[in-house]
Amino acid sequence: MLIVRRPVRRLLVALLPLLALAAAACSDPMTTTDPQSDFADTVHGVYQIVTILAAIVFVAVLALTLILAIVFHERPGRRAQQFHGNSKLEVVWTIIPVAIVTVIAIPTFRAIADTTDPAPDDAITIAVTGHQWWFEFEYEGTGLVTANEIHIPAGRATSFLLRSDDVIHSFWVPQLAGKVDLIPGHENELWFTPHENAARPEPYLGQCAEFCGLSHANMRFRVYVDTPQNFSAWIEAQQASRIAPANEATAAGETLFLSSSCVGCHTVKGTAAAGSIGPDLSHIGSRSTIASGIMDNDRESLIRWISNPDREKPGVVLMPAFESQMTQEQIASIADYLLSLQ
């Protein structure tokens, strides 16, 4: 009795996760099963076919294993039948995997062809450069440079030119497209068109998917899919040059910022700050996060970050810990200034 009950329980245990897999929460921010672009749709189409086949094979083989284990369990009077093989059966179970593999291969090949078409002419082109550990984005033809957060329009193709400045990274926004690596010395291209109805105020989350050193886990980014109108407005706002300080406090912050070593690495358009080592800060106030998506963009986080970036994001050594060079008031003043760069 025990022998029968055990395997049955095993079967149930094996099946439950399978159901859970099918229903894997589509609401998760980085889910791969809720596609919102043509590229992601293509991938998901193949995935669904293959998953169904895989589930069938999984259940069939496991059921067969259990049935054989139960039926041919030793018991009094049973003698094992002595035979060495059966050519007909061998042929049959060569054909079964061949058939399954063929069924997987056809949509695969079609999807490979679909996802390697050249981008349409009206695509927006964004050059992506991977750095340890943040993403730099340059909208070609606009002079617009930003970091870790981008906006793209719904219903129109965006093409990403993927490069790296140091080690290999990988560009991945699961709901919008499969990942493509950023490899130093190479340039890869990825393009997709978000669905017309993919526009939403919340960002689509992305993350570096190739191990790239100490803070690999902290190399995240956000893609906002806007309506075409919102997108145009955003581009226009981001192209604006120097945002004049609105009050005395931010004016003091600007002076402090421009007289500090910040300008050696960061750019703020229209000012003397023209460094190109760190992220462009021209419109940092308009972003929702800092430090490649690991901290909210607010006064308190900015102060913490400027005080000691290595403490917030291990391995960030190019940017010094300003707590040893400035007072907390000075740092707060710079934070206020940066937040004003909308």
Partner: protein, 601 residues
Amino acid sequence: MATAVETLAPPATQSGIWSWITTIDHKRIGALYAITGFIFFLVGGVEALLIRAQLAVPNGDVIDPELFNQLFGVHALTMIFLAVMPMGAGFFNYMIPLMIGARDVAFPRLNALSYWIFLGGALLLTSSFIFGGAPDAGWFAYAPLTSEQFSPGRNMDFYVLGILMLGVSSMAAALNFAVTIINMRAPGMSLLRMPVFVWMTLIISALLILALPPLTVALLQLLFDRHYETSFLSPGGGGDPLLWQHLFWVFGHPEVYILILPAMGIVSETLPVFSRKPLFGYSAIVFSGMAIAFLGWAVWSHHMYTTGLGPVQKSIFAGTTMTIGVPTGIKIFNWLATMYGGSIRFTTSMYFAVAFIALFTIGGISGVMHASPPIDTQQQDTYWIVAHIHYVLVGGALMGIFSGIYYWFPKMTGRFLGEGLGQVHFWLMFIGINLTFFPMHFLGTAGMPRRIYTYDSGMGWDFWNMVATIGALVIGVSLLVFIANFFRAMGQKPTAPNNPWDAATLEWATTSPPPEHDFDLIPIVRGRDPLWFDRDHGHAPAAAPDSAVHIHLPPPSYYPMMMAVGVLLLAVGPMTHLVLTAFGAVVIAYSVWGWALEPTD
């Protein structure tokens, strides 16, 4: 005759530690491999538990990121090179000569050398934790993260030199076993009468012999880039980081089969014995093993689908990769058919063998899924792949190894592992594996990247990470049960008869444990399952030979150990001072000289 002036006198003692250091007996070397491998398996397990502890909850704070990044890479290196391969090597050292009816391997001293170099490489690699930091760029060590510029510490030097040493060891072992299997078979044992485990070992040897050179070249390029000013792999100097990926995976993919084929060989032994009937489709299993190994050479770029391969390359590598599913499927069906019509004894070994089929199938299915490049763009570098490799390597390779341990333990020690504790071990391990690794499919589907030391809450990853950590603890407990079982068994009197399972292969024709010379009389093989053939056809076991006949065995030797020390010195040179390398070369030269002149009769 060599004189004492030219070489050291042969070691005299036959017991104590010295006898283990100088042993060239394949059974003792096998035991050394197996025990060392198991100890490193526990080390790798502790590394895994630390990783799981860190990831149990979002924003975990158990270990710092430096250590985490070292642990996930070293966990892989430890499990692959220091645990699963040596445990496999333990079996084929111990069993291959017995299974083919030989008195030892073709080159007993070379065999000892393989072990000692392996031990040196393993200690070198592991000692990195003490000396300034373990390799922290993953086991795949993608350039240019590994360059002097991005990895200025010693970390990657330990990787390069440790793996080079382990490669030398594996190469020596593979050459030895290829020759042993081709040349040392007992009379009557034609190639197609060899047990499947022997076949798989031969195939693994061939894979190692051909796959290690590309890895060696890649490692040398990395070594030269780091220390001798070349830039093979750094784009700054005109190099190409993808060169590393190609060379590494030309080795790395066959390596996967090097890890899984021993397990396939083991269950091909245990399934028939415990089903009390011959293996179904012997030739199909052997030839599909060869097909897997052959195709394994044409699939390496499926690790590189996201690097920007062209559509034609993607399609070709997708095609070859999916094709591997066919011989794998054939194997699975043949194992199932072996159970059909049997009278199955559910010993612990059999439980592990049946679980192997089930769990390996899961790993195989998920493998075919991301053989499709479009799907892989969503699964590559996520926990989906972590789930896949662990179903293949833990659910597959490790379950096979445990099936072998329970099966051959009486042959190796004369004692039985307890069946009661064995069942507890099995069920805990079976549950633990599924609890740990099945949820990783969900994590991957929910977009959790691999190799991240931290993650935020609200990504939908919290629950399954906690489940996986609990599962890892269950696996840990199951291993404690196994260790208890081992010591309990070793405390008992040896009672095992020659052939306790009524098995068919030659290792069961001699005593348990076998005498130092393996067989009093070299057996004669009359069929594919020799002991069953003799039983069914009324051939009595050969009479015990005249006890006056002296079976001469080669004397023990310390040159293998000495040469391994030389190799270790050679390896640590580039990391410290090249004087050590020169000194190592002298030690090696001396050992070769002594080795060559040492009398072997």
